[in-house]
Every structure is written in C-alpha cells, then in structure tokens.
Symmetry: C2
Subunit: 338 residues, 2 copies
C-alpha cells in the first residue's frame, strides 16, 4: 500500500485528494493534515483523503510521497517541522505558485536521501478553501514540474505519474524559467488587474464610474479578486521577476500611449489593435506548441503579417477617407469652442 500525504487541504490539496480518489488506483491511500483540525476531518468525510492525521509528523511518517499544498509562506515551516519524521527515501513535492525559493528551502531543510520535485498546477478558481475543491480542477491543465538537483529519476517519474492521475499535463521546467515565465503570464496579470480596479475605485467619481461598468471591466479586473494572501506571497517570493515584467509592461503601455496621443501615428495604432486581435484569436484556437528538442511546427510571426497585409491596406484606405472628412469638418484635434 503506497501512502500519499497531503499537507494543507484547501482548494488545491482538497481537489488533489478528490482527483486521486476518482482515479481509483488500487494500492494507493491518502492521508491528510490541515492546520485546522475541522478542515482535516471534513476532508476525510468528503472523501478527499482516506485517513486523517492529528499532527504533521504522523501525517508524513509512513508516506512514500508528501505533497505540500499550503500557502507558499508556510512551505518552509512545514518542511522544517516534517523533516525528522520523513521516511529516508520519501518523495516530496509541493503546489506553490513560485518555485525558486521553494527549491532552495527544500535543499536546505529536507534530509539528504529525500527527493524533492517541485510542482505547480496552473489551475484555480475564484473561490478557495476545501468547499471549493473539485476532482476535475486539474483536468487538461498544465502542471509545472521543477525537480531539485538531487531528485532521483524515479522520484520525477512518480510525481509526473501522480499529476497524470489528476488529468493534468506534467511539464518539466527549470525553476528559474518557471518563475520568470509565470511572472509574465500570471503574476503580471494579477498586478495589472489590481491596479486597474484600484484606479477608478479610489476615485471620488467611483459611484458614477461603477454605474457605467460593462463586462469588459469585470473580466479585465477579475484577478483583483484573487486571495490577497496568495498575491502577497507570490510577490514576496518572486519579487525580481514580477518587477522586471511590470517594468516591461509599463514600457509597452508607454509605447501604445505614444501612438494613441499622436494622431499622425494612427496607422501604427490600428496595426497594434489588429495584431493583438489576430494573434490572440490564433492563440485561443491553437496555443503555440512548446518546442521540445528539435524544431517544431511553431506559428511564425510572418504568417499573420502576411494575412494582415491585404486587410490592413483596405482598411487604412477606408480610414483615411473618413478621417479626412472628419478633419475637414472640424471633428479633428481642435478643442471645441464651447
């Protein structure tokens, strides 16, 4: 009987337990521990874990695999406290949203024979906590795998196998790369959405502004409703990368701002909007393949350029005509006299 311990039974830990239960592999049992004993016993009653543990050492002492699914900020403490109780050849993984610091903590605090293989399921939803857990949360989602230098091949394969049981796709990736890429694709959007909600909501005109909010504002600011503990912990443990991407993003905004402000650059502005639409539609239809070793059939920027050529030429002509008309009629840049 192979035992898997799940430490932390919130949305991620609870969903992992439910997904493993649903996979229904004979010879596999789960034991759960949460800092809140009520959560631990509710998880067992919900079937998210087979057994409940009263403390951290007894949760891990007979476990072949330990999954740390606590908030990032508690991962180090969990590692320290469970280290003496781990089996000598235990495999430890986690689910934290940033990986570089977690790997460092594992190297410093887990016993030498233990294999640490970091993990990060790219999944989630607005609600969190055990009550929001569901077996299908990871279905079809990527799950980043960041092995430590000392992890055995066997340990990596075991963690990948566990991930596959949940319906997710394991993706082995270097921890530094992971943190840099996620800063761009996940942590930056979080900061962007938070600032986009903060700006009007702190305005004196917020009642008027809010009454004019449409679905676009709601969607673009959705991530501002992220659990603030998670947002804070991500920024704390991935500070340099987040700051780097925010800086690049501000540059990109400045570039757009310049061409919006300058009427003479309206062609550039239109092209920027067309490019974003065309490329995003291509992304939604078929996300680019991650290149693996040899050259893959990756969509080249040239393709959409080509596609855009004719369309752009036609539309630019149309715009020119209308704009010339508008400017002739005083609809241009001049301020109105009244």
């Amino acid at each position: 009987m192979a035992r898997i311990a799940i430490i932390g039974l919130g949305l991620i830990g609870g969903s992992l337990g439910l997904a493993l239960k649903q996979a229904n592999r004979p010879g596999l049992e789960t034991i759960g521990f949460d800092i809140d004993p009520d959560v631990t016993s509710r998880a067992r009653r919900l079937g998210a874990v087979d057994l409940e543990a009263g403390d951290l050492p007894s949760a891990v002492e007979n476990a072949a695999v330990v999954v740390i699914a606590t908030p990032i900020i508690h991962v180090l403490r969990v590692m320290e406290e469970m280290a003496p109780a781990l089996l000598p050849d235990a495999i430890v993984t986690d689910t934290a949203s940033t990986k570089r610091k977690v790997l460092r903590w594992a190297t410093d605090h887990l016993p030498a024979g233990v294999s640490f293989v970091g993990g990060h399921p790219i999944a989630g939803k607005e609600q969190d906590g055990l009550d929001a857990a569901e077996a299908g949360l990871f279905q079809g989602r990527p799950w980043a795998v960041t092995p430590s230098l000392g992890a055995s091949e066997q340990a990596i394969r075991t963690v990948e196998g566990l991930i596959t049981l949940t319906g997710a796709r394991p993706m082995v990736i270097d921890a530094e790369e992971h943190d840099s890429y996620l800063a761009g694709m996940s942590h930056l959007p979080l900061v962007v959405a938070t600032a986009l909600f903060a700006l009007p909501s702190q305005s004196l005109a917020w009642p008027e502004l809010a009454s004019l909010a449409g679905p676009g504002f709601r969607d673009t600011t959705r991530l501002a409703s992220t659990n603030p503990d998670l947002s804070h912990d991500i920024c704390m443990t991935n500070r340099e990368n987040v700051v780097h991407w925010v800086d690049r993003y501000i540059e990109e905004l400045r570039r757009l701002r310049t061409i919006i402000a300058d009427e003479a650059q309206r062609d550039e502005l239109y092209k920027a909007f067309v490019r974003a639409q065309v490329e995003r539609d291509a992304f939604l239809e078929k996300p680019p393949e991650r290149p693996q070793g040899e050259q893959q059939d990756v969509k080249l920027p040239g393709a959409s350029e080509l596609l855009m050529g004719d369309f752009l030429a036609r539309r630019m002509k149309d715009i020119e005509e209308s704009i010339t008309r508008v400017e002739d009629q005083g609809g241009g840049r001049r301020r109105e006299g009244r």
Copy 2:
C-alpha cells in the same frame, strides 16, 4: 404608425431591431439600411426590421426616429448624407462608444428643427455583425443618453422610451462626463488588455509562455480580441481622455511596482491586495448607486477600512512570523549562490 429607421445593421443595430420586434408595440414599425445590401435584406428576413431601404435618404425620409448604429468613423458621413431627407422635426440618436465628437457633428450637420439625443448602450460581446445580434443584448444594461443642447424634452423622453423597450436602463449624462468616465471604465481596460497580450506574444519565448497560460491570462486579455476598427475609432474620437487615464494608470502601476520591489513595504503591498479584493467583492455584490440630486446611501470607503482593520492586524502578525522565519533561513532577498 411611428417609423424608426435603423442605419447600420451589425451587432448593435440588429440587436436593437430584434429587441424592438420582441417588445411588440402596436403602431411602431422599423426600417433598416446597411451599406451592404445583403445585410439589409438578411436583417429583414431575420425579423430585425420590418422594411428594408435601398439607400440612406429613403430609409430616413418618413422616420420619426433615426438610430445611427454604424461604426463611429462613419457617423459624420451618415449625418451629412441623410440631413436633406430628414423630417423637419425628426429625432436622431446614435449608439457610438464616444459622445463628444458625435454631438459636435450633430450640431454642425443636422437641420435646426431636428433633435439629436446621443446614445451609448454599454453592452456588447466578442462576436460582432448581424449574425451575432440578439434581442436580449441590452437587457439590464446601462444605456447612456447624452442630449444635445437643442434637443427637446419630448425627444429625450422618446429616446429614453425606446431604450426602455430594449430592456436597458437609460442614464442621462453629460457628453464630456460620458467620454471621461468611459475612458476609465472601458477604453483604458481595452488598452491595458491589448498591451498585456502584446508583451508576451511578441517575445521569443512566446511558445513556452503560451503553454503556461492559465484562465487568468485569458480573462485579463479578453478585450485584446475587440474588433480593431472599434478600438481604433474609440481612441481617435476620445484621444485626450484615453491618454489621461493611461497616464493615471501608469502612475498607479508605478506605485504598486515600488511597493512590490521594496521588501520593507510588504504591509502596504498586502493592504493594496486586500483592499482591491474587498472593494471588488463589494462592487460585484452591489455596485455603488449613482448619486442623484440629494445624498444617497453610497458605500463609504470607511466601511471596508473598518472591516479590514481586525483582519489585517491578525494576518500581518502571521506574515511577520513566517517572513522572519524565511529570512532567518536565507530565503529572503539574497540571491542564491548557485
């Protein structure tokens, strides 16, 4: 028989026609005209309009109300071309996303007896064109109403009545205010989403980045898929306001960036995330009332401050303990040695 002419039969014009049809008011008939004759006749076959017109003058010549539902960039041309054919006391409205320039054009180009009452339904969806039109598009949505100085009370009430028939909520607002508020709540999110998609998608690492994209990235960049004609026209006709809000947004991002970069300001960072979450949840649950004349029961910022007080104090203590532990263990700012 009161005739309503709808000029431009895309998503908005087509949905308006379908909504009026569904409202089924006796004594009301609709006539449609689109620059594409195939669209005009398809609109009639779909029941979006009762009658089809072969040209613009014949569409408006017997219409008590004319609704211009073309792209913004064509509104001026439509006004010029239809002006000689309008009834002397016709009521004209439109559906453009910006209002200041449209009002200026109406003042300059519509005959003196004609009442222009601008309109902007805060509704839409990703698809556009007649095929995406639906009777329920405006249900429960705000619809801004910006009367010109010369519009009669009767004209304003007629346009409000028409809007109410679609299920939308008419909101009379000054055109300058409209353009400033919409720049913040709609046009800024458009620019923000476009830049957020452009940044990683133009990176050489896009295949790797895209393979790690989660639902957060998708939602936050959704507006980058907006019809580029609309995005361009909005920026062209509301340039100063959009630039103003982009500048304020960059300032807000810089403020967040500063507290992310400075570990000593982690309390401020955490508070920023908590505030955004609390305020956004309050907004979703019950958007603040628009103050009308006398003082309304508007949610005060003080309420959430108060609410946050206890929670923050507890959580900050928790963070302090964990962080101190993390820093003691070398998990802090220092770069790793390997």
